[in-house]
Amino acid sequence: MTRLQLFIFAAIVLIVGQLLSLSWWIPLAVVFVGVLIATVRNGRAFMQGFWAGLLVWGGMATYYHFSNQGLLGDRLAVTFGLPDGWLLVLVTGLWGAIGMGLSTWAAQSLRASFVSLRPN
């Protein structure tokens, strides 16, 4: 897998997770296993997962926040001490990003310590 392929793979799994309302960790596990199996080029894989998570979770949150006219986001922002509902969208995106980033990075570096990888 190239970096782009890894990003696309992670994003697709996340989207499927969203469509099926799967628990948050299942896409992370699927991508983790996928990366262990597939040959991934050398180099750190954190950012590919990170961007995929940010895109999918942040995108979903943006959709809900926007279509709901901020009614929920702005209230919950107060609950969590944030100045604005859009920050809650950002936090959601980062939450998805960190999780998937750690998953791709951990899987790729685990594989790299067993198998010789082609450099990028």
Partner: protein, 822 residues
């Protein structure tokens, strides 16, 4: 291309540790000890809180539902999300009502029933154990169990309504996916629990607690002991001579009252022994708060004008019950239409109970206020043994029996709470030195009601189906608890006020103090029979009205005590008498009226006692501003703020030696005003800790000076001073309202306080076709992401109303339909 060597595993180990930590952290509830749910699924947009914002959870779209084999019908939602039930019969309508209420108010029902049952620590943890324990010891679980079995055994048809209602709720829960759980469940990390008729009974007892648990027996006994009879009688007379009762004095009672002499004067053989030994103004030691809750300040208004006073020549009825204001609102607006019974009734229901509590149909309208009669007594037992297991009753040994209740606690071992009960009721305080130490409590709401034609639901079903005021009177004969003043009107021109409920048959003087629990004749001789309850019908004056004041004039043959309002009722009667005719607009204005009779009566005496000699110009101008104030608590009024602080300070200085938190009875405000006006040199105004002799004038001046020290002419107005909000039911930050800037104060008809006030405003103009208006300080939905979470609150705050038409199923205004098929 060169093949690279294997990597050192260090990076992999670090990454795996971080990933593991992230997985763990996001799966734990209360991460890092913070009050948060497990964050992974909470932030996950497809399972977590964002789902509340999904369209299917914020709006009602058309649905076909075929879950239940038993019930069919339709729920049609108006633009405001108000459900209209179209069902073949009332039982099916109850099913639909359960389903719709669950879709909008599931968390509210769950939390309210848990709060009454003492089951909060199960979801909220150890911090709530004391609350749960207090609920259990006061016997709310037991009261609900008794009520449920009364319904089940004596009113099977009504019980079927409750089963259908529960089934509707549970069918809704069954089809609910975890991602659609209301947001509060997600925040707490808890899931919805099935409903049952027992929980509806809990809701009923929760209302009884709110409306009829208030009593002052312990405070009264303590006060008379400390102060002696004479001072006690002077400070705490039972009757306010200025009162303008609900049933006007023109009503005469020609029945022969029942014998109440089975009882005795309180403390007949237990006269206060320490009177006057202790100088009554000595500061007593601080003792615990009353073991019964001091109910939040609840008041309400209802009235009806008859044909002679109505611009339409037909009755106009108004009701605004004042309760704690929360989001979601305590009320849920509904319309019920059934074919079998021919019902078409609209109004408000209580989530957790089927049917309509306050409402109208094409012929009649009804509304309620709280009666406020004291239906709780306390008994001192004659214990046989030190372990308090046996006591004497009429010289016979009786055994205490015990109720065992489990308190389930989140993340902790359950505990079993043991409550001893005597023939009178539960023993709430089993500590050696508590305020109610080993006293037994008798509360009407624990009693089996007398034989009656209808149960609680049957009464409301009867009101909903009534076609005349007489029909409603008939249904109300069976009404028992909590006692309410029912205002009734029909389109034929009849208006009536019918206080209804279980009113204890007390011998004169009984019930104000702690009673002797070793004598069975210290109990009540039953309750006042329905036909002897006070009532008024089509009075000459052209109106009936109630605002929680005393029920009757002194010539009512039965003795009763309670908590009664002293200002709103008098003002309401005065306004209704003054104005010749009312139209619906004038009735609405009266509901919004923020005039304070208390201020009218007190202010002149405060102003008269300020020393004007040594004032500077700005103080003088403040004083003239106060003198010019019209006693209306408008949001932007500064005189209202000043007066409010002033009277509070003078009051506090006055009662400094007999404070409620020291265990004394509360000096009623009307009595305070009377003393200030008529006996300004009375010893109550003297502050014992100073050498000087203070009078009403000294205290008034001191309070004035103290407020002036921090008074800023551009300072805060009444709305900011009052600081009223509508908070979320579970006090979740951000889910409540902004500062309310509506007019009003506790003693005005528009009785908006910190977090209580008019919880539903309804005005019904009867006629060939009724015209009705209403508004709740909230909205139909309990979902904070829904536009209907607080849309009505904004209208309410602005003093506006929605029209409340009676709708047929083909009405154009009904936007979406849930169809239930087999």
């Amino acid at each position: 291309m060169a093949i690279q060597k294997k990597k050192s595993p260090i990076q992999a180990i670090i990454a795996l540790i971080l990933l593991g930590a992230w997985l763990t952290f996001n799966s734990l509830s209360a991460p890092l000890g913070l009050p948060l749910p497990a964050l992974g699924d909470f932030f996950n947009p497809s399972t977590g809180f964002w789902q509340q914002a999904a369209y299917r959870n914020t709006h009602k779209s058309d649905r076909e539902i075929s879950i239940s084999a038993a019930y069919v019908g339709q729920i049609k939602f108006s633009e405001r999300g108000v459900p209209h039930f179209f069902a073949p019969d009332l039982e099916s309508a109850c099913y639909l009502q359960g389903y719709a209420t669950a879709s909008d108010r599931l968390f509210q029902m769950d939390l309210s029933s848990r709060a009454t049952a003492g089951r909060l620590s199960e979801i909220l943890g150890e911090g709530l154990i004391d609350y749960d324990r207090a609920q259990i010891r006061r016997g709310y679980r037991e009261a609900a169990k008794r009520l449920e079995s009364d319904w089940k055994e004596n009113f099977p048809k009504e019980y079927a309504f409750l089963e259908a209602y529960s089934r509707g709720i549970n069918d809704f829960i069954d089809q609910l996916e975890p991602e659609d759980y209301p947001i509060e469940f997600k925040l707490i990390g808890h899931k919805p629990e099935y409903w049952s008729p027992y929980k509806s009974a809990l809701m009923t007892k929760g209302m009884s607690k709110t409306l009829s648990a208030r009593n002052h027996d312990l405070e009264a006994s303590y006060s008379i002991e400390q102060l002696g009879q004479e001072t006690f009688d002077m400070l705490f007379p039972e009757r306010n001579p200025r009162q303008s009762p609900i049933i006007s004095p023109s009503v005469k009672y020609d029945f022969t009252p029942l014998d109440t002499s089975q009882g005795h004067m309180p403390l007949a053989n237990k006269k206060p022994t320490v009177s006057n030994k202790l100088s009554w103004w000595e500061q007593p030691e601080l003792i615990d708060q009353s073991p019964m809750p001091r109910s939040p300040w609840n008041g309400s208004n209802n009235w009806a004008v008859g044909p002679t006073k109505s611009s339409t020549r037909k009755p106009i009825l108004a009701n605004d019950p004042h309760l704690g204001l929360t989001l979601p609102s305590i009320w849920y607006e509904v319309q019920i239409h059934t074919q079998a019974e021919g019902l078409l009734t609209r109004g408000v229901s209580l989530p957790g109970l089927p049917l309509i509590v306050i409402g109208f149909n094409k012929d009649v309208a009804w509304g309620v206020t709280n009666c406020g009669h004291d239906v709780t007594d306390w008994y001192e037992m004659d214990w046989v043994d030190k372990g308090h297991t046996r006591y004497l009753l009429d010289s016979q040994e009786m055994e205490v029996y015990y109720l065992y209740d489990t308190i389930t606690i989140k993340d902790a071992e359950p505990i079993v709470e043991t409550t001893p009960w005597t023939v009178w009721g539960p023993i709430i305080d089993t500590t050696a030195d508590g305020r109610a130490s080993w006293l037994s409590m008798h509360w009407l709401s624990h009693d089996q009601p007398p034989v009656r034609d209808r149960g609680d639901l049957g009464v409301f079903a009867g009101l909903m189906a009534a076609s005349s005021e007489a029909d409603m009177q008939q249904a109300l004969r069976s009404y028992f608890d909590p006692a309410q003043n029912f205002v009734l009107a029909d389109r034929y021109g009849n208006i009536a006020m019918r206080p209804s409920g279980g009113f204890p048959l007390r011998p004169p003087g009984q019930g104000r103090f702690v009673l002797d629990g070793s004598r069975s004749d210290q109990g009540w001789a039953g309750t006042i029979p329905p036909e002897q309850r006070p009532a008024q019908r089509n009075p000459q004056r052209g109106f009936v009205a109630s605002a929680n004041q005393r029920t009757t004039a002194e010539d009512y043959p039965y003795h009763y005590i309670g908590n009664f309002d002293d200002y709103r009722g008098r003002y309401l009667n005065r306004r209704l008498a003054q104005v010749e005719t009312f139209n619906q607009r004038a009735i609405k204005d009266l509901q919004q009226d923020a005039y304070s009779l208390y201020a009218e009566e007190l202010m002149p005496y405060l102003l008269a006692r300020v020393d004007r000699e040594n004032m500077n110009t700005s103080e003088r101008s403040l004083l003239s501003e106060l003198a010019d104030w019209n006693y209306i608590y408008k949001a932007n009024s500064k005189p209202a703020t000043f007066f409010h602080r002033w009277q509070a300070k003078v009051y506090d200085l006055t009662i400094d030696e007999i404070r409620r938190d020291s265990g004394f009875l509360e000096l009623e405000t009307w009595r305070f005003v009377d003393l200030l006006r008529n006996e300004p040199d009375h010893k109550i105004f003297d502050i014992d800790s100073t050498k000087a002799k203070e009078t009403a004038a000294t205290l008034t001046q001191r309070a004035f000076d103290e407020i002036l020290e921090s008074w800023d002419e551009d300072g805060i107005d009444w709305a900011e001073e009052r600081n009223a909000y509508v908070g979320h039911l579970a006090r979740i930050n951000g889910f409540g309202s902004k500062l309310l800037r509506s007019p009003g104060t506790g003693q005005a008809l528009n009785a908006l306080r910190g977090s209580s006030g008019p919880s539903w405003r309804m005005v019904v103009e009867l006629g060939d076709e009724p015209s009705a208006w209403g508004v709740i300080p909230g909205g139909s939905s309990g979902n904070p992401a829904s536009p209907h979470y607080d849309d009505a609150l904004h209208e309410w705050a602005a003093g506006r109303y929605y029209p409340l038409p009676l709708r047929n199923s083909d009405d154009d205004e009904l936007r979406s339909t849930w169809t239930f098929t087999r």
